[in-house]
Amino acid sequence: MNISPFFFYLFAGSAIAFALLTVLKKNPVASAFSLILVFFSFAGIYALLGAHLVAAMQVLVYAGAIMVLFIFVIMLLNADTPSFDMGRSHRLLRWGSAVLGLALFATFVWVFKNSAALGTKGAFTPVAIEAAGGNTQVLSELMFSEYILPFELTSVLLLAAIVGAVAIAKRGKKRVGHAG
C-alpha cells in the first residue's frame, strides 16, 4: 500500500504501547487517558490510509464524546480511589487468556499473510475519489443515496439507546429511594 512506513510504524507502535497500558494500568483514569492516545494513533493511521472523514470522526466521536463520557463516569463514581480492588484476575485465567490471545494472533497473521487478495476491485480508486471532490464528499453522497436505509435505522438505534440509558439510570435511583 502506498503509505509512509515511518508514520505507520510510529502510529502503530504508540497504539500498541498505549493499548497495553490501557489493559495493564491499575488506575482506571490512567487506562482512560491511554485509550484516548490509542484513539489518536488510530486517527493518524486512518488519515494515512486516505480515510480522512473517518479520521475526523474518530477524533470527534471516540476521543471526544465517548471518552469524555467514560472519564465523567469514573469521576462520578470515585472509582479511581485505591479503596476499589483493581487487581487482576486469577493467575490461570490471566496466563491462559494471554496464551489464547497470542495463538489467535499468530493464526490471524498466518491467514493474512498467506491468503490471496479476495473480492473484486470497486470503482473508488484514490484518483477517482480525488476527481469526485475528495473523500468527504464521496462518502457523504454515498451515505445519503446508497446507504440511506442503514443511516435512517441508525437514528432509531440512537433513540432506543437514549431511552434505554435514561430508563436504566432512573430505575436504579427509584430503588435506592425505596430502600432508604
Binding site: M1, L20, L35, V54, M57, L69, S97, G119, K121, A161
Partner: protein
C-alpha cells in the same frame, strides 16, 4: 519500502487480541468497557484497510455505523455501570453475585 496490507491487518488483529485479553483478565467493569472499545477500533481499522485495498467505500461506511453503535453501546453500558454501582457500591465484576444467594 512499502507497508504491505497484511502488516496493517496483523496490527489491527494484535490490538483486537490486546482488547480481548484485557476483557478476560480485568475485573473493573469500566476497564472492561474500554477493552470493548479497543476491539471495536481494531475492527474499524480492518474495515478501512480492506476499503482502501479494494477501492470500495463500503468499508468506510461500515465504520460510521460501527462508531454509532459503539456510542450507543457505551451510553447504555455506562448507564448499567451506574445502576450497578448504586446497587452494589462497587465496580468490581466479582461482586455481581446476587443470584447466588
Amino acid at each position: 519500502m512499502q507497508v504491505e496490507p497484511w502488516v496493517v491487518l496483523s496490527f489491527s488483529s494484535l490490538i483486537f487480541m490486546i482488547g480481548l485479553v484485557g476483557l478476560l483478565i480485568r475485573r473493573n467493569i469500566l476497564v472492561i468497557l474500554m477493552c470493548i472499545e479497543l476491539m471495536l477500533n481494531a475492527v474499524n481499522l480492518t474495515f478501512v484497510t480492506f476499503s482502501q485495498q479494494l477501492d470500495h467505500l463500503g468499508g468506510q461506511m461500515s465504520v460510521f455505523f460501527i462508531i454509532t453503535v459503539a456510542a450507543a453501546e457505551s451510553a447504555v453500558g455506562l448507564g448499567l455501570v451506574i445502576a450497578m454501582y448504586r446497587t452494589l457500591r462497587s465496580v468490581d465484576t466479582d461482586e455481581i453475585q446476587l443470584l447466588r444467594e
